[in-house]
């Protein structure tokens, strides 16, 4: 490596994987730029109330890590930011980062929340899977970190130039609202890049047989996570569209498995988690799991499945299923290899969707010059026994950006990438 060598590392994506990588690098004395596209960080895990297999509170797991990131002088967290360009090679990459205007000062704001109510604009809250509304100035959910709101310039009437509204600014005692913030471009040099951009979920509107969007009370996996979350739109009271609690629920496994061509390895486990959520809230409700394989690899996952079964959940093998509306009820035609379909009637359906690659991966693949597989996940060099390394020296991929994984696997891969980065110097 030449004299240009610096002490910096870029981490893209601040979910479990990116956070763990950043913390370890920082501890080793590296200066870390942690770039997260959303205005909040923590990744998908912050949507969950609890995490398998111990059913511990998800916030309690991730919040201390987030605090460590926020307080670590070696980590510069850039939320609401994207990587626009990367040039150079291992030991000396030049990176262009776009920090999108937040219109709220990260320094001055103390997160009191006084500015939301006065804002006259309401819009769907995407983080809450559109199950609730937010204002044009918002934090996505209570407890989001950093605890500083963001103004959506596409909805804020002032920023759109529609009027001179200053309701939020007027209500802020801390001079934190900065309407004239501009997007900023930051040029940094780094020795290595760790990509931790996570996953998305299989697009269920592409598989009409599940009835999503057509049949009432058919929910996606994330919708259900939010409907159970204490900091979610219903404060953890899982209600159907009509406001009542469900009495019978079917959780359908492997939604997208056939279409995508792989098993995601975690949706069985999160489905059992869902059953445990439901049995916790509604001990008398009937819960059916329509599984195809019980994917419970390793020493402790089968036990979790057994625990779920012991709570009185019914497991039904299925090869295919059709979901139809039937008055206020939902009718399921379950095909399981027998001549006649099994029929089920429930009032709530939850779709355990497969994990798929993050949409922005293709853009990032171009910027970084790394390869994606036919499913959009980044390719690591498994054949040469380097499961966290890409073919491009100095660029590493971890967590669900490389393939579907659970939290411990994502963390282990992040730690592996850190090992590789620290071996460079």
């Amino acid at each position: 490596m030449d004299e240009n060598t610096n002490n910096n590392v870029l981490v893209i994506g601040a979910g479990m994987g990116g956070i763990q990588a950043s913390l370890l690098l920082a501890e080793a004395g590296k200066q870390v730029y942690l770039v997260e596209k959303e205005p909040l960080f923590g990744g998908n895990v912050i949507k969950y109330e609890e995490v398998f297999p111990n059913m511990e509170c998800s916030t309690c797991m991730i919040a201390p890590k987030q605090q460590e990131v926020l307080q670590n002088p070696n980590i510069e967290l850039m939320t609401h930011s994207i990587v626009e360009d990367v040039q150079g090679s291992v030991g000396n990459f030049s990176v262009k980062i776009k920090k999108k205007a937040r219109y709220v000062s990260l320094v001055n704001c103390i997160g009191c929340g006084a500015c939301y109510d006065p804002c006259p604009v309401s819009l769907d809250n995407e983080f809450e899977q559109n199950l609730s509304q937010k204002k044009a100035i918002y934090i996505p959910c209570p407890g989001a970190l950093p605890n500083v709101p963001v103004i959506d310039p596409e909805y804020c009437t002032r920023l759109k130039g529609v009027d001179e509204c200053s309701a939020c600014k007027d209500s802020c005692m801390f001079e934190a609202i900065e309407y004239d913030q501009k997007d900023e471009i930051l040029d940094v040099k780094v020795t290595a890049v760790i990509v931790a951009t996570g996953f998305g979920l299989f697009d269920i509107t592409a598989a009409p047989k599940y009835g999503y969007g057509k049949v009432k009370n058919v929910y996606s996996a994330f919708e259900f996570e939010r409907l159970f979350a204490k900091n979610g739109p219903t404060e953890g009271n899982t209600v159907l569209k009509g406001g009542e609690n469900p009495n019978s629920i079917a959780i359908i496994h492997c939604v997208g498995r056939k279409e995508l061509g792989y098993c995601s390895g975690v949706c069985c486990m999160y489905s059992y988690k869902f059953s445990q959520y439901l049995k916790h809230s509604f001990p008398d409700a009937k819960v059916f799991q329509l599984y195809s394989d019980m994917c419970v690899p390793g020493k402790s996952y089968q036990k979790f499945y057994k625990q779920t079964m012991d709570k009185g959940v019914d497991f039904i093998y299925h090869e295919d299923v059709e979901v139809k509306g039937n008055g206020s009820k939902i009718k399921l035609n379950v095909k399981n290899g027998k001549d006649k379909d099994q029929e089920l009637e429930v009032d709530m359906v939850i779709l355990a969707q497969s994990l798929k690659s993050t949409e922005s991966n293709s853009e990032l693949a171009k910027i970084l010059g790394i390869e994606q597989d036919d499913k959009g996940f980044f390719v690591s060099m498994t054949e040469s026994f380097e499961p966290a390394s890409t073919a491009k020296p100095g660029i590493y991929v971890v967590g669900c950006s490389e393939a579907p994984k659970d939290v411990p696997q994502s963390i282990a891969q992040a730690e592996a990438a850190v090992g590789k980065v620290l071996a460079l110097t």
Partner: protein, 563 residues
């Protein structure tokens, strides 16, 4: 010098300022003994606020500071840094949470104010008993012991190699390579490159920073992160052992196979031509020919998944793929042989596994989903009886069966765990430090467990874990750099300790030892994490968790409860 306590109440804008009557707080707090000043500020955590505090501490000559503000989770570190900047010990500040615990939970300003006063009073009584605590630095040895030379151990040893770090790789058998080396033909058929492992072994053997000790057992490991004393002994010999110091230990002692003989339903060892994966691998390794006991080539083979899964209570993660590999091997080399795979679930959770399954189907492997199976009959007419998911009975006649035994912990695991003072999982594998957040660590700092020693793992998971331990070691144990153990540790007051040793059992971290000569227990401050478990268990009240002494807590609680 007597105490001069400064009390500062943060308005936190309207958050505290409007919800609590701060003037009333100041009025109530000011008369308290040793309180030198009580002041309010708009926003203590801001740059301005911090500078204000530094000036106050210096100008007023304060010895202690109590802050009525937000949760210590938010800004304790900020305020500890302020203390350091102002020249007082950071443990002589106390953050009292009057925002989340007072301002934000009451609608009634009077109640919030009353509670805030009590809390601040309690903080003041507590801080009077605070002692300055100093950060310590310990020399740390950067060398690493890797225990076990299979896939995981080899990867870890090689990845850990740095010029200023020595790695000791101890393997109890005569050769490096572990379980996979016995299956060259089978594994290379599936494209797993055993040549790479051999290359790595060569690199290890020629690397002067790695000392390879084969046919060697580790006898003892004593010490703590940064300073473990290791002694080894050549297998089967009395003399010739070595001892050396390392800073960290990576356990990569692998796994064993479930004993199929123990469950009669597989017919193993009772019916000829019923094999395990192991036997099958050995057979093709020896002659590349598939042979029955009669010397003839088989015409139909049943591959039975999940051997022992029910007994073990867990899924062994890799046997589905192993069995499909065997199926593919047979179909590719002997297309004429019928292959039936009797599986329960298909564990195909790595991203390319399902494709492999689909290809296997195309090759004509007959997959049968079952929930129970029994291998019976006799050589030449082996009968496989199975139950489908729907409860129907099925029967197959084959002339060879291969059963997949699950993975179990390596036989020596309990002894190794005991030696290292790390806990085991109920299944008998090593237990990770935290099921999600710390997948390769253990409860002991500086001791890592990787690969199948920790539970069933695929090749790639094994490699990732080995590299993950490397990442942690590179980050925590840097050559030439000292380590900083926890400051808020527990200490045992010798005069009070009766030597009952109750505390030894409750310490998760093995930080307490018993000093035979003095007849008292001693805390090793380098290991202690300050959890306080021991203090609660000591019948003689001999243990002081620094910063959480009984006196500190007692004074705080009494004052909080006083009207």
């Amino acid at each position: 010098m007597s105490d001069k306590i400064g009390v500062y109440v943060c308005e936190c804008g309207p958050n505290i300022g409007e919800a609590i009557d701060i003037d009333k707080v100041i009025e109530a707090i000011s008369p308290i003994e040793d309180v030198a000043v009580v002041r309010r500020h708009k926003l203590l955590c801001s740059g301005d606020g911090q500078n204000f505090l530094v000036d106050e501490i210096k100008n007023e000559g304060l010895t202690h500071v109590v802050l009525g503000a937000c949760s210590p989770k938010d800004h304790e570190i900020t305020f500890m840094n302020v203390a350091t900047r102002a020249g007082i010990n950071p443990y002589l500040i106390q953050v009292v949470n009057i925002r989340e615990q007072c301002a934000w939970i009451f609608k009634d300003k009077d109640i919030a104010t009353k509670k805030a006063i009590k809390y601040i009073r309690a903080g003041i009584e507590r801080i009077k008993y605070h002692k300055p605590l100093q950060k310590k630095e310990l020399d740390a040895n950067p060398d690493v012991l890797v225990l076990g030379g299979g896939l995981a151990g080899i990867e870890a040893a090689l990845a850990l190699t740095q010029t200023d770090r020595k790695v000791y790789l101890v393997e109890k058998s005569a050769d490096l390579g572990g379980s996979v080396m016995k299956f060259e033909k089978l594994l290379s058929h599936q494209g797993f490159n055993l040549g790479l492992i051999k290359e790595k072994v060569d690199k290890i053997n020629s690397n002067e920073n790695i000392e390879v000790l084969t046919s060697t057992n580790v006898e003892s490991v004593i010490g703590f992160f940064g300073n473990f004393e290791v002694t080894t002994k050549p297998a089967g010999e009395e003399a010739g052992g070595k001892s050396f110091i390392v800073g960290a230990v990576v356990v990569a002692s692998g796994y064993n196979w479930f004993d199929l003989e123990s469950t009669p339903r597989y017919g193993y060892k009772k019916i000829e031509d019923v094999f395990t994966i192991n036997d099958f691998g050995r057979m093709i390794e020896e002659s590349e020919k598939l042979k029955l006991s009669t010397g003839k080539e088989p015409k139909s083979i049943a591959l039975v998944h999940c051997g022992g899964r029910k007994e073990l209570g867990y899924c062994s993660r890799v046997c589905c793929m192993q069995m499909m590999n065997i199926g593919n091997y047979i179909k590719d080399k002997y297309p004429g042989i019928e292959v039936h795979e009797l599986h329960s679930d298909l564990c195909v959770s790595s991203k390319n596994d399902q494709k492999y399954y689909e290809k296997s189907k195309e090759k004509g492997i007959n997959f049968i989903r079952m929930k129970g199976v029994e291998v019976g009959g006799k050589a030449g007419a082996i009968s496989i009886e199975y139950t489908t998911l729907a409860g129907d009975k099925g029967k197959l006649a084959v002339d060879m069966a291969v059963v997949a035994p699950g993975m179990i912990p390596e036989a020596g695991t309990p002894q190794v765990a005991d030696m290292l003072n790390v806990p085991l999982h109920p299944t008998g594998f090593f237990k990770e430090g935290h099921e999600k957040l710390n997948p390769v660590g253990t409860t002991m700092d500086g001791i890592y467990v990787v690969g199948c020693a920790q539970g069933p793992k695929s090749f790639m998971e094994t490699l990732i874990q080995a590299q993950a331990a490397t990442g942690k070691i590179f980050s925590h144990l840097i050559p030439g750099k000292k380590i900083e153990p926890e400051v808020k540790v527990s200490e045992i007051i010798e005069a009070f300790c009766t030597g009952c040793q109750t505390c030894l059992d409750v310490c998760f971290y093995g930080a307490i030892t018993y000093d035979e000569d003095k007849g008292v227990s001693v805390v090793n401050e380098a290991i202690c994490r300050g959890c306080g478990n021991c203090a609660g268990s000591c019948p003689s009240d001999a243990i002081r968790p620094k910063h959480f002494t009984t006196t500190q807590l007692y004074q705080e609680v009494v004052e909080a409860l006083r009207e």
